[in-house]
Amino acid sequence: MSAHHNHQDQDVLIEKLGYDDHFHEHHEGDKYQMNFLTKYIFSMDHKIIARQFLFTGIFWAIIGSAMSIIFRLQLGFPDASIAWLKPLLGKWITINDAGMGSLEPEFYYALVTMHGTIIVFFVLTAGLSGTFSNLLIPLQLGARDMASPFLNMLSYWFFFLSSVVMFYSLFLSTGPFSGGWTGYPPLSALPQASIGSGAGMTLWLVSLALFVVSVLLGGMNYITTVLNLRTKGMSLWRMPLTIWAFLVTAILGLLSFPVLFSGFLLLIFDRSMGTSFYLSDIFVNGMALDRIGGSPILYQHIFWFLGHPEVYIIILPAMGIVSEVLSVHARKPIFGYRAMVYSILAIAFLSFIVWAHHMFMAGVNPFISNFFVIFTLIIAVPSAVKVFNWISTLYGGNLRMNTPMLFCIGFVSMFISGGLTGIFLGNSAIDIQQHDTYFVVAHFHIVMGVAAFFGMFAGVYNWFPKMFGRFMNDTLGKIHFWCTMISAYAVFGPMHFLGMAGVPRRYYRFDNFEAFSGFDVMNQFITIAAIFGFMAQLVFVVNFFWSMYKGRKVTEQNPWGSNSLEWTTPIDAGHGNWPGKIPTVQRWAYDYGKDGIEYTQQHVPLREGEEHSSH
């Protein structure tokens, strides 16, 4: 018996069992698409907004990773001339009499800061959660659009404004903010503290305040859509894991970003009104400042009260995407669906009570640190549940080793490698040694940088046909995967050794320190691997844009043989997603290989004698 339905069968099924919400009779759904401006620019269609988030995310990803290459050149080859970058970086490169061009130390810090800010907020928060929440929440739930398409549009445009402000700050004559992506005072609170602390920091704050507004508008929308606009039959326990992940991500953002916003407002007052919320006992150039009574650690607490949930805002959508894509391409139901959901919820809860593990060495009371250590280590439990479930899903599956699948497996690998070092760092006793070394850099790049990127790539390769009606080139995709995988481990693997040896992060160069001078070759190796990895991403960019116009066309509605509802829409779905009725949901999202049938879509009713899968 073939499980494949052609268009006709599907449409008949939706026509027969779907319900009619008279959406297209109102002519309101289509009024958004009157002209180019309302259809593609100020669009209220979630599918277009998803693409807007994706494009902006890719733009920032290129800039953010290019910055890392420049400062990696400095770290790997501090004595090589980079005069050839002068046309791009201008006065940030000084050329001495011998014609040797070197990076200004201040600009090195600006690059590191901007790399962090851009990748964490603009790429992995907006680019990842913004893209896929927008694309998948209405499609997979069987909704016509978001609860409030207008606020959804505003969400993107606030992000866009925030991007413009941050981009503008890159071109200031004093450079962008250079005090680290966390923006700790006093560097962020005193405009005279460093060259980037003036106008650069002001724009940084404005940009991120706008970004918080964007996240909140998006988050409220995602939550209410998931709660209120599910199609008939789509109970919570039938939702794909992607939706669960996006829902919990939105809740995390809704609760943690306001706290960051508060912290920023206090910081703005410290900067421009002369208050001392975060300042005390400061001496600049030997002069005591009239700033008494605050504490920079207060800012750190507030920042990390956002900052730690932010880590899960980044990784949870990737986990959701991987769970879904892994199951589709392994042709097996996801193992332990409910355990997956509960572990997402447990991680979300724990993420709010562990923030001070980022600050063990900042002067936090060791007594209270003990609690943070315990809570932190408990996170390993739900994380391990997820890892075991992914591996069990793969076990005995009928794997399609295409690009999305490879990235899913890569994600699991990265999550394990990076997660294990997290257990090291979560112990305050070990953290005393490893804090602020390359060990930390290696840890968080693998577990939330590379892993989240892998989730994002898996999502892009998997849903590209839905977004653009064409496939991405699989060969180029595989080249992209293997080069990225190898270079990621080549870059971040050796960093563990640097960190173990005590090499501190954020240093401009190491050759002045006898203890670290033995690592020249390792640093060079890392830099070369990073350049290699960067080149691999260019393969992706080329593949992406080439495939948009020249890729293999999608000819059937459900090219992957996937169960979720987004593949019941027409290949080029218009506003309202379904041309006629909305499909109703008859079963959970993971009926793969049930009763010998390869897959059964969610809107297909139970066959005679069939029972609901227990999950």
Partner: protein, 161 residues
């Protein structure tokens, strides 16, 4: 939405006005009574005052959310989804406040003096530090001389000495 008739809900409103007003009055009364304004030289224990006032405020908050904002008549799921997340703040309050206390204790310890508002530093103290090189450790004893020049006398910070 309302499960009450119009007349009943009007009563709830009146009751709300009276309850909130009276509780506010009691709060102010406790604050003033506890500090000896009302009966001369009569003071309440601090913890008792705090306990009373915090619990009365929490009751006011409960009343506003449950009756004015209609939470009482919402579906349990909505109530939980809005109220449960605020429990995350409990640990935040504990951790932040204990941190504040720690800063206080450590500052007092570093200054190695009883906690409180102090006189200007004894002259000998800053003079003895005058010849030592500028190490960050020394700043606290050494720099107020510079600081004083910057500040008007009455703005001289209490914590420095």
């Amino acid at each position: 939405m309302s499960h009450l008739s119009y007349e009943e809900s009007k009563k709830v409103v009146l009751r709300g006005l009276i309850i909130l007003g009276i509780i506010t009055l009691i709060e102010v009364f406790v604050a003033l009574l506890g500090k000896g304004y009302i009966i001369h030289d009569f003071h309440l224990q601090k913890w008792l005052m705090y306990l009373l006032m915090i619990s009365m405020s929490l009751y006011k908050a409960y009343f506003i959310v449950y009756y004015f904002m209609h939470m009482k008549y919402e579906v349990p799921g909505l109530v939980k989804s809005v109220l449960l997340p605020t429990l995350l703040l409990v640990w935040a309050v504990i951790a932040f406040f204990s941190e504040g206390k720690t800063w206080h204790d450590w500052r007092a310890k570093k200054n190695d003096r009883p906690i409180g508002i102090f006189e200007n530093p004894p002259a000998s103290h800053s003079e003895s530090a005058g010849n030592t090189p500028h190490h960050s450790q020394e700043h606290n004893t050494q720099q107020p001389e510079d600081a004083k020049k910057e500040l008007s006398p009455e703005e001289h910070p209490a914590e420095k000495h």
